[in-house]
Structure formats: C-alpha cells, structure tokens
C-alpha cells in the first residue's frame, strides 16, 4: 500500500562519489565511449560497409517505416472529384498542434454539400502526426497513409501543404457514402 500522505519524490538527486567528484576519470571514460563509436564507424566506412544507422536525409530515405505509420495526410474525394471535406473544422479543433487551417466557402448550387473547403492548409513543420484529425473527421475526408511528408527546406513557410496537393498526391475516393436527394417540392424550392 502506497503511503498517500507523503508526497513522492520523482527526481533523483545525483549522488557523487569520490570517483565522480575527481572529474577527470569520468570525462575520459565518456570520451572513450564516443571515440570508440567514431573509430568503429570509421573502420566500417573505410572497409565499404555501412557505419552508423544515420540516413543521409533527404538524399537517402529509410524504407522501413512500420505498416501502421501515420504520415502525410490525404484528402479524399467524392466520385465527382470534389473534396469529401465539408469544412466542419473538427480536425482543426482536435489538432493538438493547431496546424490545420481551413477556409470554408459556400456553394449554393450543391444542395447536399453547401459548405466546402476553399483552402485547406497543414503545417508539417509543427504537425505531430498524432492522427487525431483522422479520428475527428465525421466524413472520412482526411486520412494518413504510411508515406512521410519529405519536405526538407530551409524555410518553415515551405512546409505548408495546401488543399490541391493533399487531394492529388495520393488520390483516394470515398464512393461508399450515399447522399440523400434534394428537397422535394415543398415551398418554393431552394431559391437563393
């Protein structure tokens, strides 16, 4: 049984013995560890073998992402090619990093989908790839396949991807969803 009355201390204060306090031996030991790694990698490189696991991004990309990896977003389309997204902004609401920005537009001609995203922008320099946007979406309009964004840049502004790219880089259609017919007869029609 835990002693609930006493506050548990989670921070271990460092205790330095005589060996640590004498400073130099521990420094030399640390240098020996890093020096050993350098020497080993150098030896492998000189003998034309792979040294460290570091990939030389962006020229070199690792291919061993897990099957369930959540990478770059896809915006799904309806059968007619328009985005499935209804600009309800629940993904932007759920996003813990606040990286999704959507500008909604009104289309009176499409009675079943009067609201659609005129712009849809994601900032990959801040995205944490948590997938909450995918879970929040009520329309299956946003998905995250395995592929990673691959946006190396010296400028954060270039790490934004916009609607047309997200619709087009890996086209997915969500044709399964039936939509109700428009208003039947009543009143004087859906005038605007």
């Amino acid at each position: 049984m835990m002693d609930l009355g006493r506050r548990k201390s989670y921070w271990n204060r460092p205790t330095l013995g005589l060996w640590e306090r004498s400073y130099l031996p521990e420094v030399l030991r640390g240098l020996a560890v890093t020096g050993g790694v350098i020497a080993r990698n150098l030896a492998r490189w000189l003998t034309f073998r792979k040294g460290a696991l570091t990939a030389r991004y962006p020229e070199e990309r690792r291919a061993d992402y897990a099957a369930g990896n959540r990478g770059k977003h896809v915006l799904t389309t309806r059968p007619d090619g328009r985005p499935q997204c209804i600009a309800c902004m629940l993904c932007a609401t759920a996003c813990p990093a606040r990286v999704i920005e959507i500008e909604a537009a009104f289309d009176p001609a499409d009675a079943a989908h009067p609201k659609h995203p005129a712009r849809f922008e994601i900032d990959y320099s801040r995205c944490v790839f948590c997938g909450l946007c995918v879970e929040a979406c009520p329309e299956d309009a946003i998905r995250m396949p395995q592929d990673v964004p691959d946006l190396p840049s010296h400028d954060r502004g270039e790490m934004w991807l916009s609607r047309d790219h997200l619709l087009g880089w890996c086209p997915r259609s969500d044709a399964a969803k039936p939509y109700p017919p428009g208003p039947a007869g009543g009143g004087e029609g859906g005038s605007l």
Partner: protein, 471 residues
C-alpha cells in the same frame, strides 16, 4: 407574494409570475425553446414540461403560480416527457451540425445531450424542406433546421413591429416566410439570428466564416448612435490565430451580437450595430505626416507641440467618438489653452434610419453627451484671429478653416485632408483601446480593446499628454 414548492423547496414568488420564471429566478433550470423573457408566451415547443403534484404534466412557461402548488421539474415523468419531446423536435431536424453555423451555441444541440442523447427512434425518412431560402439581403433560412418555435415571428410583431415574418403551412410543412412579395427588410432583422434556438436563420455576412468556438467575444459599446448599445465584438481567439490563411482575419471583427443590458438596449441591437466592421475596417491611416511628408511619430508630435505653443488663438474641435477617458485627458492637458468645440464626427447617411422609438437615436455619435458635459454645447465656429485649429476625428469640413490657420489633425482613417494638414497624427480606434462612452441618457458603459493597435499608431490620450504636458 405566493408560496410554492419547487422540487420540495418552499419559495416565495410574485403572485403574477409563471412557474418557468419562478424556477429560473430561483436557480432551477427548466429548458425552453419558444419562450423568451422579452417575448409573449407561445407555448408551442412543449419542452418546458413540469409536473404539478396531483395535476400531471403541463408547460411551465404558461403556468401561473398558485398558492401552495407543488412543482417537480425533474421527476421521472418530466424526464420521460422531455425526452419524447426532444425526439419529436428532432424528428425532421437534419444532423448537419458539422456545417451549421449555430453548432457550439445551439440550444437544440445542448438539450439533445442534456435531455435526450438517443438516436432517432423514427423509421420514417426525414421530411425535406427548402435549404438556404432567401429571406432578405441579410438573412437566409434553412427550413429543415427550423423547429417552428415562432420566436422570430413574435420578434417582428412585438419588438421591431415590422410584422415582416409569418408561418405558412402546418405540421411538418410549416415554413417561416416573409409576407408575400416582401423582403425581410426590418432594421432590427439580425436579432432573429440570435433568437433562433437552432441554426435555421443564418446571417449572410457570417455564413461559414468561422466556427463559433474559434471566436471570443469582447464586451464593447456600439458607437453607431447615442444609444450606446451594449454589444459583444467577436473575433478569432488568440490561440486560433491564422498563420497561413489571410492574417488580416486575425484582426477582423467576425460578428457583433448584443450584450443584454436592461438599462440601455435589452437583448437587441439594430442592424447598423451588426455592421461595425464597415466602420472600423475602413482603410487605416498609420503614418504620421507633416503636410503630406511621412515622418516618425515623435517628430510629428514635437512639431504639433511647437505649433500649439507658438499659436496665439487656438481652437480645438474634439471628437464625439472620443472615450470619456480621452476627453478627460484633453481637458487636463490642452483644454485651458484652446477654445474647445464639440464636433459631430458622423451625421446620418442617406438612407439610414435617423431615429425611431425602439433603439435608434438621431445623434450618430456615441459620446456627444460625455463631450458636452466637459466642453459645453457651443456649435463648431471660429473666433476671429484663430491661427491654429486642432481637429480630433472625422466629420469636419476643412473649407471652414480660417485663412492662414495651421491645422493639427488626429485621425484614424485614410482621407485626403490627412495630407493637407500641417501635422497629421494617426490614432487608435475604439476596438484598439479600453474606455467608456456616456450615452444620450447619461449612462456610461465600458468597452474593452479587442485588437492591438499598429506600432505607428498612438492613443489620442497619450498624444494629448505629449503635446500639452509639461516638457
């Protein structure tokens, strides 16, 4: 006074009140759609059912209190009746909260979670009705969302008295419509958007602009006329500022809604108050100038100071859009050396309603009374020999400036006279500062800053201190 028992608790209430009011006043919430404290009782939504012991269920909004009555607001019967009523109200209501502007502040949505929570038990398909029907230049109606509570109809009959709206048809084909051949041209029309307990009545200007939970409201005062209605100015929340989309939207007024102030405006404002963005978001002047030559603000201030000190006979035209604090700053720092006149910044525009017996006042300036209390009621005129005119704000005809007089102008918006003034100083607008206005009835109300002023823009009160204060 009448003694009633509310959920077993004995309370004293006024003899002429209703059970719904008695419950709300005593901290017991009874849900309601069609009832509104400022409108007549319609009793058609049937959600405010309560149980009177020994008499069964009835609606609380239309139930007068009687001595010794025992009211239960949360018995099993009441809960069952509410749940059944919610099923009925949502029978034909589309589940399109995702694209509904009311979502997040919708009474039907809140009550669904509070009192129903179950999916529809109806096997019939929902009745389809007109979507986005054009009621007028400002308002659309989505008849599928409408629950026919008739609040909007009663508003146009009882408050704005335009009698513009009515309900045609019956049952599930009821439609809220304008009088035949008429458009919804009521000057108070936008109040029905707030009144609507669902998302049926939609503002064209706010349609799909933002989800309401991305916005925050700053309490403010409408400067549209001398009534000084209490309002809320809605703008993007600080943690929802846009980076990629148009960053100007971060500093824009998303919408304006009334703030209930029984002493001033009640829960209503006129349509001019809804369109404050048209006043405050005109192109702004943000550059200090000497005769049209851009200079740093500090240089313009010292030039203004030099002109004021050097003049012999000075006249100041103070703004009736200045806050009480700014007017007091002017009095403290400059008024002693000036012949001070209060200037009307705005006059009624062509086509604008000048005055009515509901809210709108003829004086289109928010603080004329506050300014006149400090500086008197003399009209704008110049004593002979005036060689310096300090103009604060808009609405002055510069052809009236006496020949040879220097002009120091404090303005917020781009205007041709800015470049002609000897000194032009850019000042903040109401949405960029705190302050208060005194309305035509002498009631002072505070407003708060929504947005930060630009770096090159000064507050008028600081300028008065800098120009008139001791060096």
């Amino acid at each position: 006074m009448t003694r009633i028992f509310l959920n077993g608790r004995e309370i004293e209430v006024a003899a002429d009140t209703t059970v719904l009011r008695a419950a709300l006043d005593n901290g017991v919430y009874v849900p309601y759609f069609c009832w509104h404290p400022r409108l007549s009782v319609a009793g058609n939504c049937r959600i405010c059912m309560v149980e009177v012991e020994g008499k069964g269920l009835d609606i609380a909004c239309n139930m007068p209190v009687s001595e010794g009555m025992k009211v239960l607001t949360d018995s099993d019967e009441v809960r069952a009746a509410r749940k059944a009523m919610m099923q009925f109200l949502t029978l034909n209501h589309p589940v399109d909260c995702g694209i509904c502007d009311k979502a997040g502040e919708c009474t039907l949505q809140d009550y669904h979670f509070a009192y129903n929570g179950a999916p529809s038990i109806s096997a019939e398909p929902k009745v389809r009705a007109t979507k986005f029907h054009d009621l007028g230049d400002r308002i659309l109606i989505d008849n599928e969302r409408c629950i026919v509570c008739s609040r909007c109809v009663r508003f146009t009959h009882e408050v704005s008295r335009s009698k513009a709206l009515g309900i045609q048809g019956r049952g599930d084909t009821s439609l809220v419509r304008c009088e035949e051949g008429r458009r919804f041209d009521d000057p108070y029309s936008d109040n029905v958007i707030d009144l609507c307990p669902v998302g049926a009545l939609l503002s064209r200007s706010f349609l799909y602009k933002a989800r309401v939970w991305f916005l925050e409201a700053t309490p403010s005062v409408c400067p549209g006329c001398a009534r000084g209605c209490a309002i809320r100015i809605w703008h993007l929340r600080a943690d929802r500022r846009l980076q990629r989309l148009d960053p100007r939207r971060n500093l824009e007024i998303a919408r304006v809604t009334p703030l209930d102030d029984p002493a001033v405006n009640g829960p209503w404002i006129c349509n001019k108050g809804r369109d404050l963005a048209a006043i405050f978001e005109r192109p702004r002047a943000d550059q200090a100038m000497l005769r049209g030559r851009p200079v740093p603000l500090a240089e313009a201030i010292s030039e203004a100071r030099r002109l004021v000190d050097g003049a012999k006979r000075r006249t100041a035209l103070v703004s009736s859009w200045g806050s009480d604090g700014e007017l007091a700053a002017f009095r403290d720092h400059l008024a002693a050396r000036f012949d001070v006149r209060v200037k009307p910044d705005h006059v009624p525009q062509p086509g604008e309603i000048v005055e009515d017996d509901i809210l709108i006042r003829a004086d289109k300036n928010p603080n004329t009374r506050g300014a006149r209390a400090l500086f008197g009621e003399r009209p704008v005129a110049f004593e002979p020999g005036t060689d310096l005119v300090l103009v604060w704000g808009e609405g002055f005809d510069y052809s009236r400036v006496p020949a040879g007089a220097k002009v120091v102008l404090l303005g917020s918006y781009l205007a041709p006279e800015n470049g002609a003034a000897d000194v032009f100083l850019p000042i903040s607008v109401q949405t960029e500062r705190d302050g208060s206005y005194t309305n035509s009835d002498g009631i002072a109300r505070r407003f708060e800053a929504c947005f930060p002023p630009g770096e090159t823009i000064a507050h008028a009160a600081d300028l008065f201190a800098a120009i008139g204060g001791r060096p």
